[in-house]
């Protein structure tokens, strides 16, 4: 793949000035890539981009403060970086961004479902991309799948496929999939009656095992070891194994991300029991975009909940 | 708002004492493109005789008017009479109270749906049609006519029922008369009481109260007192003889604003219907014409003077230019 080689050259070129460059390399299975920390030319050889480049490398930034690092980023990854920069959580000068046009990434749940009855995902030996399809090297022969059928949901509403803020951009820019996010998924969810929505969350959250993988995968969860989930001062949550505390943790997470979440979907992807966590975060994002016209990770202004206007044209206060 | 249509409620006086208001209103509305549909089988609005003794009965009478309108597909009602307007409005207002509405509907035996409205002819002409449109229609401007507008007590009050113009110092008729070309004198008693229907039980009240209005109008030098209410008109016009016996020493005609509109629009005598007034308008109109001549003459004089001056300036300019040229040559 020519573009892959171009990215590799860009990494190799930048590497001398950087402590490392984070990208993607081979994972435990052929369908799963893993984050790759590249420090020398041998590491760079292991780099792969493309449909399997799922992980958001921005996740590692806050813990790598102090040394200049390089990141290979998709459009959505770059938004996370942008938001971290806007909040002064990382310094833009300490980051070297290598962008490339992203044409979607895989959703393993969908892939697993697509392979149902044909083979286990772990049995796939290799994958190659052919335009709008992926071709899998499976035990029973090649399996061809349309990318759009197995791509992550977020890719279908991608407004920013290219890392616009990249220091180096490799390849031709991809066209946005949509011009604006209409939050049709939320609207569909809200077709359910209020009581049904409640019941939905009660049922979904009952599966939660409080592993906090959602939190740990979130590039904007910067509290890390100081998360209120495990704090007594303040004591927002008990350790009781009840739906209420589990749901409340998700509300804390979503509230802390209000006006900040870039919708990268890592929380939902990381959830081992498949709770649709991004829905909660997108409900906040819809509010913030509607009220303040703010798109997290794109706008360079102060995040809207950390500032105010004397007159708020979009807020219609209720008359009493 | 041309081409608008209203249900028309003439009120009892429209068929009797204020025929001239009725006729001129219809004519003027037609000229301004307002369609009037008569409310079929209308009845008394419930004013004075009913509302002084039984508010429910009074509202029921009004409610029946709206219900009759509704049957003919009419929701927006227009009436020339401020007293009818007041009572119709009050009925709608009071019927927002469910208990009251139930009592009314027990009498009318039919429920009144929401969404009815009623406005005065004056309000519709000034606010909906607009004075620009009125000005366009003027064929015979009332230049030289000195008028005082008299609104009466009900046209703008109580403020929260009538919701029209300033309650104490209304301007709509002033502006309307100006649009017709008339001169409008500031009239402090424009919303004073004329005696209203009190003239029946307390005979003396009308000559005293109406007299005060006419007296001030005369002192200000008005040719006419222009009115918008049939009862006011009757008190000021029909009873002027009575008032004169108590010291008023002149006569003054009291037309409706619609009559002056009809005249200014160049409509016929039948439609302006000045003949139906008690006090003759002819002297006032001849005053107007004389003054109009004077105004015209004065304007001509001023124009001539201005032209003369301009010519002189031009002459001087030419001369000085000539001088300058001459100097240059020298």
């Amino acid at each position: 793949m020519a573009i892959q080689d171009d990215i590799k050259s860009a990494i190799a070129e930048a590497l001398p000035g950087l402590s490392c460059v984070i990208g993607w390399g081979a994972g435990p299975e052929a369908l799963r890539a893993a984050p790759l920390f590249m420090r020398d030319a041998a590491d760079v050889d292991k780099f792969t981009a493309g449909f399997l480049a799922v992980n958001n490398p921005a996740l590692f930034l806050p813990s790598l403060k102090g040394a200049k690092v390089g990141l290979v980023v998709k459009g959505c990854d770059a938004r996370s970086v942008g938001q971290l920069v806007a909040e002064n959580l990382v310094s833009r000068e300490a980051i070297h961004l290598i962008g490339y046009p992203c044409r979607g990434v895989i959703d393993m749940d969908k892939a697993t479902a697509a392979l149902e009855g044909r083979c286990e995902p772990g049995e796939v030996k290799g994958l190659r991309e052919e335009n709008e399809d992926i071709v899998l090297d499976a035990p029973g022969g090649e399996i061809r799948l349309a990318k759009k059928d197995v791509a992550a949901d977020k890719c279908a509403r991608c407004r920013y496929p290219n890392a616009e803020s990249a220091d180096v951009f490799v390849g031709e820019k991809a066209a946005p999939v949509v011009e604006r996010d209409d939050y049709a998924d939320l609207a569909a969810f809200e077709n359910m009656a209020l009581d049904a929505r409640k019941a939905f969350w009660e049922k979904e959250m009952s599966r939660c095992i409080r592993c906090y993988a959602c939190r740990n995968a979130c590039p904007l969860c910067v509290c890390r070891d100081h998360c209120v989930a495990s704090s007594r001062e303040p004591h927002w949550l008990t350790q009781a194994d009840g739906v209420r505390d589990k749901l409340f943790f998700q509300l804390i997470h979503a509230t802390h991300l209000a006006g900040r979440c870039t919708g990268c979907g890592e929380c939902e992807r990381a959830c081992p029991v498949g709770i649709p966590l991004l829905t909660l975060k997108r409900a906040f994002s819809r509010q913030v975009e509607g009220l303040f016209g703010y798109t997290a990770g794109i706008d360079r202004s102060t995040p809207p909940l950390l500032t105010f206007k004397l007159e708020e044209p979009a807020i219609k206060e209720r008359e009493w | 708002m041309s081409g608008a249509a209203f249900g028309y409620f003439p009120g009892c006086s429209g068929l009797g004492t204020s025929l001239e208001y009725e006729r001129s209103t219809r004519a003027v509305c037609r000229e301004l493109g307002l369609t009037l549909w008569d409310i079929p089988d209308w009845n008394c609005c419930g004013s004075t005789p009913a509302h002084t003794v039984d508010p429910v009965l009074s509202a029921a009478l009004s409610a029946r008017v709206f219900a009759q309108g509704a049957r003919a597909g009419i929701r927006d009602v227009l009436t020339p009479c401020p007293s009818c307007l007041s009572n119709l409005r009050n009925a709608l207002e009071h019927m927002e109270d469910e208990l009251f509405a139930a009592r009314v509907e027990a009498l009318t035996e039919r429920p009144l749906e929401a969404g009815h409205s009623v406005k005065s002819v004056l309000q519709v002409i000034v606010e909906d049609v607009g004075l620009d449109k009125v000005k366009e229609r003027v064929r015979r401007p009332l230049t030289g006519l000195k008028t005082v507008p008299y609104y009466g007590c009900l046209m703008t009050r109580p403020e929260k029922i009538m919701r029209f113009d300033d309650p104490e110092n209304p301007q709509s008729m002033d502006l309307l008369l100006q649009a017709l070309g008339a001169q409008v004198l500031p009239f402090p008693l424009k919303v004073d009481c004329c005696g209203g229907s009190l003239g029946i039980p307390v005979r003396d009240s009308v000559p005293r109260l109406a007299g005060r209005i006419l007296e001030l109008a005369g002192e200000l030098g008005a040719d006419m007192v222009v009115v918008a209410c049939p009862l006011c008109q009757m008190n000021l016009d029909l009873r002027q003889g009575q008032i004169r016996t108590r010291g008023l020493d002149y006569t003054i005609p009291v037309p409706y604003f619609t009559q002056l509109m009809a005249y200014a629009f160049g409509l016929g005598d039948e439609e302006a219907a000045f003949k139906l007034l008690a006090e003759d308008v002819a002297p006032a109109f001849s005053c107007m014409r004389r003054r109009a001549e004077e105004i015209k003459a004065e304007e001509a004089r001023v124009a001539a003077l201005a032209a003369q001056k301009a010519a002189a300036r031009a002459g001087r300019g030419a001369q000085s230019r000539a001088n300058g040229a001459a100097g240059g040559e020298a």
Binding site: L89, P234, H235, W236, L306 | N169, P188
Partner: protein, 652 residues
């Protein structure tokens, strides 16, 4: 923890609709409650003594009093528990009077609600920590905003006591409304004779710095250390050179300016000295009337000024000042009475306001003290006074009584008779409100000695007829309509808070009511204090009042300011934010939102952390609500304390 609970009866104020004994008995079951009782008056001496005794007897470590609002007696009870040896913050109040007994009569519901409020207070108290105040130095300087009689009194009293005072006055002269008055009631002594010397005192006092024709531009800081920015408006006359000779005002060719000081009674020049006794006696140019500014051609004043003081290029100037306390004394203005179309709405020249009439009566006024009709300059014989024009009138949105109009109208009726002995005065009134020393006697004298005809009723209409004004009103005592042919009509126009008062309130961070009057700390017990520490009120800005009351409040405000600023150090409120450095990740969000710049970033072993500047923090808790990991907590209102209150109320 051993908690004592005291349920106050407040006489029958609480006990009338709350079963206090039942609440006390329920409270015994709450966690950590070691003692619970009901008590007749908790705030009275026996009540406080009983609390102290119980603390000692039952070894209590925390106290809950359920009584009135903490805005009233929290300081009282904090002192009580302190006297018993507890830290003053080991105390909570449950408001079972204003929020329970006074707003409903259902004893069952009230008792249940009171018990729940006590439970909330106990839940919170269990998490209270001992807090100790820090002290900080005080700037011993007072700012007085407004140079009317109340402000003058406050400034002089404070300055006489040795305090430095800065006075800021919006107009080019101090003196306020009182300087416009001819005489004062009920003594009918000359207003400028009693005010004038006090104005001079302000100008000459070594401790007072006067900024006239100036406004407060911004205020930051807090009690003891306010930073004030004063805008000195451009007067286009260099006051350091102006001697107040008045030559410029004589020669100024624009003679059609609105005369602000004289309420528009007669015109004035574009360059003015408001009145002969003005302090400071300096000229200023009203730009909108000045030919130099409007046409670029004139310059007469600059030519004639013997000291070369005129400066057409002058700009607004800003002065920064540090003060420890602030007295607001911004007074009142008359409402816009032209909404009264029935009185002509301003169309009839011979209908004037009471303040315009004062200027006509004044010997130094534009008519030289001769009462003249504005229309034709003739002397009126029949003068009608209409009271409550914009007072006690819901229809124009002014339901309150302006308070002083009855009295000044009586005074004006007396002065009318003095000026024109063959005149007749008529006063239309609603009620005569004259509660004051010698006041009612005064209103009686005007009727009996001066034959003013008092007519109890409202005026429905004023209209011109020939040279006369017809005043038509009701005489409700006679049950008849009256009509009076007047030569002049004087309206006792209702007063409202001075223009711009709400803006100043926002700068001072004090509350104001819907008419712009500033809110006092407590209507009975803290009438000149506000809920913002270090800000005091004097005069009509707090609510309409006459001269003696304004002067009394001026002195009272000065006394309060002196009590505050007599101390070298002030205790800071320890209910402020603090950072748990272990939990802080240095994200700077708290620094971003803090309205007081009270949080700074520090470096802790190479890690950025937040730190609260204790003397600057005001304790709003915005940072606490902003910090995602709860690393910054507002003492006494921590997350855990508020969560405890919420949980006390939750069903699950």
């Amino acid at each position: 923890m051993r908690i004592g609970v005291f349920i106050c009866h407040c006489g029958s104020n609480i006990a009338g609709t709350v079963d206090c004994a039942a609440v006390a008995s329920k409270a015994r079951a709450y966690p950590d409650v070691a003692y619970s009782t009901d008590i007749m008056y908790a705030c009275a001496e026996p009540g406080q003594d009983a609390i102290i005794a119980a603390i000692k007897e039952h070894l209590l470590t925390g106290v809950v009093v359920a009584s009135c609002t903490p805005r009233m007696h929290e300081p009282t009870f904090r002192k009580t528990v302190e006297r018993a040896g507890l830290n003053r913050y080991m105390f909570e109040m449950a408001n079972i009077r204003e929020h329970v007994s006074w707003i409903g009569k259902d004893i069952e519901a009230n008792t249940n609600k009171a018990a729940e409020l006590v439970r909330m207070a106990v839940s919170k108290l269990r998490l209270n920590r001992e807090l100790k105040p820090k002290s900080f130095p005080v700037t011993k300087r007072l700012l007085v905003v407004g140079g009317g009689v109340a402000g003058i009194q406050a400034a002089l009293d404070a300055a006489d006591a040795g305090l430095e005072v800065i006075m800021v006055e919006k107009q080019p002269t101090i003196g306020g409304k009182m300087a416009k008055l001819d005489k004062t009631f009920p003594t009918v002594d000359c207003s400028s004779c009693i005010l004038g010397p006090r104005m001079v005192d302000v100008a000459q006092h070594p401790n007072i710095t006067l900024y006239a024709y100036s406004e407060v531009d911004s205020i930051s800081g807090y009690v003891g250390n306010f930073d004030v920015k004063i805008r000195k408006k451009a007067s286009y006359v260099d006051w350091s050179k102006c001697t107040g000779c008045g030559l410029c005002t004589e020669k100024c060719p624009s003679k059609k300016s609105y005369d602000r000081f004289n309420e528009g009674v007669g015109p004035t020049t574009a360059i003015i000295i408001p009145f002969p006794q003005a302090i400071p006696k300096k000229a200023s140019i009203e730009r909108e009337y000045c030919r130099q500014f409007n046409t670029g051609k004139c310059g007469v004043c600059a030519k004639v000024c013997p000291t070369g003081a005129i400066d057409y290029g002058m700009q607004d100037e800003f002065i920064d000042a540090k003060v420890g306390g602030i007295v607001a004394a911004t007074g009142y203005d008359l409402m816009d009475w032209t909404v009264y179309q029935e009185y002509g709405g301003g169309r009839y020249p011979d209908v004037v306001t009471s303040l315009q009439y004062e200027r006509m009566l004044s010997a130094s006024g534009p008519t030289g003290g001769h009462i003249k009709r504005p229309s034709d300059g003739e002397e009126p014989k029949d003068v009608v006074f209409i009271q409550c024009v914009g007072s006690r009138d819901v229809s124009v949105g002014r339901p309150y009584c302006s308070g002083f109009c009855c009295m000044y109208t009586a005074k004006q009726a007396i002065l009318t008779k003095d000026h024109i002995p063959d005149s007749r005065s008529y006063v239309f009134y609603m009620d005569i409100r004259s509660p004051g020393k010698g006041y009612d006697e005064f209103t009686r004298r005007v009727q009996e000695e001066y034959q003013a005809r008092y007519i109890r009723g409202r005026v429905s209409m004023v209209y011109p007829k020939g040279k006369k004004l017809i005043v038509r009103g009701a005489d409700t005592l006679m049950g008849a309509q009256v009509e009076i042919e007047a030569d002049l009509v004087v309206l006792a126009v209702g007063a409202e808070a001075a223009e711009g008062a709400p803006h100043l309130a926002e700068k001072l961070r004090i509350s104001y009511d819907s008419y712009g009057f500033f809110m006092e700390g407590h209507p009975k017990l803290r009438p000149v204090e506000t809920n913002t520490a270090g800000v005091f009120l004097a005069g009509a800005c707090q609510g309409l009042k006459d001269i003696p009351s304004s002067v009394a409040q001026g002195s009272a405000a000065a006394a309060k300011a002196l009590a505050l600023l007599s101390r070298d150090m002030l205790d800071s409120d320890p209910q402020i934010a603090s950072v748990n450095l272990n939990r802080c990740v240095g994200c700077r969000k708290c620094i971003e939102v803090c309205p007081f710049k009270a949080i700074q970033e520090i470096d802790l072993r190479g890690q950025p952390k937040a730190e609260v500047i204790e003397t600057v923090c005001q304790g709003c808790g915005l940072c606490n609500a902003t910090c995602p990991q709860g690393a910054i907590q507002l003492s006494h209102f921590t997350d855990n304390q508020l969560l405890a209150e919420v949980e006390a109320l939750c069903r699950f």
